[in-house]
Amino acid sequence: MAMSVDLPPTRPASAARRPGFLSRLFAEYGQEIVVLAAIVVLFIVVTMVNPRFISANNLTTIFAGNAYIAVAAIGMSMVIVTGNIDVSVGALIGVLATISGTLAVAGYPVWVAWFFPVLVGMAIMGVQGVLVAYARIPSIVVTLGAMSILRGGLISVTGGTWISGLPSEFLLAQQRWFGVPSPIVMMVVLTVLAFLWMRYSAFGRSLYAVGGNPEAALATGIPIERRIVAVFVIHGAFAGLATILFATQLQVIQSTVPPNLELTVITASVIGGVSILGGSGTVIGSTLATILFAAIGSALIFVNVSAYWLRAVIGLLILATVLADMMRRRGKA
């Protein structure tokens, strides 16, 4: 090559190659592997103490009962990857569940009761995305405002009553598909699809660029405002899908916001390896982290420890994960 003539000869030849499979796996999915290992260890240990832990009944509770959190965490992970955050998702799911139940009781076809809230979720999140991207208000401020509006509005309108008399065909989360509880199927399918899309689509890649360095993304021709609005709309769609699973699991819907739901969802993303600073993480991680919490919560009961310890354990996990992330970043700086 003509160019090599003038290059100083003292320099070693370049390692122009693709990295090996294993090193790539650990470099890219380190946190996911750690969480998966934690789940496996937890199951083995708790089952040795109390074999009923691994019964089909308990597993269904763990996986199906928390699938809606995992689905909401998919959208949340995308938002956090772009360097933003959303604290309104818990309130939003409460509002959407109430809309869904009201429509079902009013006699609308069940698919309307299921999917109309998805559209509402996309619209509400879209508005928030516009405020973040174009009005340049920090996402924590926009979504805090939205949280108050949605939460206050919901209680004012419904007075916190329960919606009952839901038609049985509305209760999607109680169905089984191919012999598997439907929430588990949805959680797995949505996680895999979202993962592949984040990993292999040009759009997904651009989200990592926007979160990793918005200035550079802009200077490379990525329209960062449009990407941020889009990611909020998609997050709204996942919140809507999570609502379907949440609202259809019981015979009644309580018209209030599930306490701390937004924090649980954010925590799942963070412990799953999504950097709170943006730019890295996968939805496989957030789904695994959701399963890990659910399993820890259940395990505490099976080994006779007060379930209140769950919060404390999760708190420790958050700090440990963020600390590890900061140390990784410092190493690379």
């Binding site: 160019m3 003038d6 290059l7 390692a15 693709r18 990592y208």
Partner: protein, 507 residues
Amino acid sequence: MTAPFVTMTGMSKSFVGVKVLKDVDFDVRPGEVHALLGENGAGKSTLIKMLSGLYTPDAGTITVNGEAMKFSSTRDATAAGIATVYQELLLFPELTVAENVFLGHYPRTAGGWIDWAEVRARTRDLLDQLDTFDLDVDTKVLALSVAQRQRVEIAKALSKNAKILIMDEPTASLVEADVQRLMQVVRQLRERGVGIVYVSHRMPEIFALADRVTVLRDGAHVGTRAIGEVDERELVSMMVGRPIDSLFPKTEAAIGETVLEVRNLNHGRHVRDISFSLRRGEILGIAGLVGSGRTELALTLFGMTPATSGEIVMEGRPVRITSPRQARDLGIAYVPEDRGLQGLVKPMAIRKNVSMATIERVSSGIFIKPAAEARRAVDAVKRLSIRCRDIGQPVGELSGGNQQKVVIAKWLETSPKVLILDEPTRGVDVGAKAEIHTIMGELVKQGVAVIMISSELPEVLGMSDRVLVMSGGAITGEIDRADATPERVGAAMTAHRVQANGTGEAA
């Protein structure tokens, strides 16, 4: 001849296995200005950070007044009489001048309270010693100019009874009048017996101020000379390690038809009525002081700050450029001044950074083809000799020069017709610098038109076919390679007063 106040012997330091300083000796005598010279990455800042206590050496000794010292913090160095005026001034904008000067060592009253009267009086006294009578000690620092803040920093150093003052690129962001004033302050300090370590790239200042000069290259000590024994040519060749004519490997490329034409372009105060044309195979250098509007012009051409009036004609077609995306699609590429800020996503792999501007070329439908993407990245790494572990390595782990080559690689993927390079070799070591110049030569041979913005006059003169000089947001000179001398370019760089009278009223 007086004995040195500070002597550093055999200083060595490694970072993550890379030796950045190898067995360097350095000393400073009371009442002298000792200039420290070297290219970016030569080890100057590492050396002065050891002297100021920020870094601990791996090997080597520091003696102050004949006594061996171990600095484990800047506090230790300050106590030994060594103070630093940093390039990025470390003052608290919300505090007053007096509060800043004595921050951390406020004089106390008998009762243990801060003696504010004393703080203000002593600050006044220190500023007067620096001939800075016009600065009120009760002004908040945020209201001061860069030059004024610098004098506050110097007063702060003197308040700690500094015997040695380290000045890291003190004139880098000053305008000419302030440079003269600063040099006066430096001479006064020298007369009072303060020893000054003066780090600067600017040869005229070094010859005007320094008593001795030490040159570092690639972390090693090249030589220490009395200023009377050397000339500029010799210093430069000591810095780069070879005769200076081979510094800029200018290759002859055939200059073709006009590809970009700009007429009466305006944006804000910094891009005023700019007109020029650019041809295939040409390197157009843009010279000018910091703040002359060079970068602003590039940002306007690239659509980051779209032009408010004027015309851009690309290959004969008038175009309006309002976003970087549009500029990119027209065949304009911009390698930014600050690669960390605007060029790279540092935690991301080389592979992903290289494909960032051209993701659709390695995709089919909505999905990226990883093999195609990897192939292009491997190819770029080979062609530009990017030194890395593999293409999966995060770019943040690479050296400055290799990071810069990744940014260039990213833009070469777009097959640009016009490549704008803003300070392409800033913060890049000597070897990589030559490689980047070679790459530029290769590109113009292939018919790319290059606009190179540089603060380094030798680089502008060495690489450009034509030089545009900017000052005060306007073009103050257009000089062909054959006529481009440091004097002519330098004169045009400071010609803004004339220009400002002419166009300033209208703007």
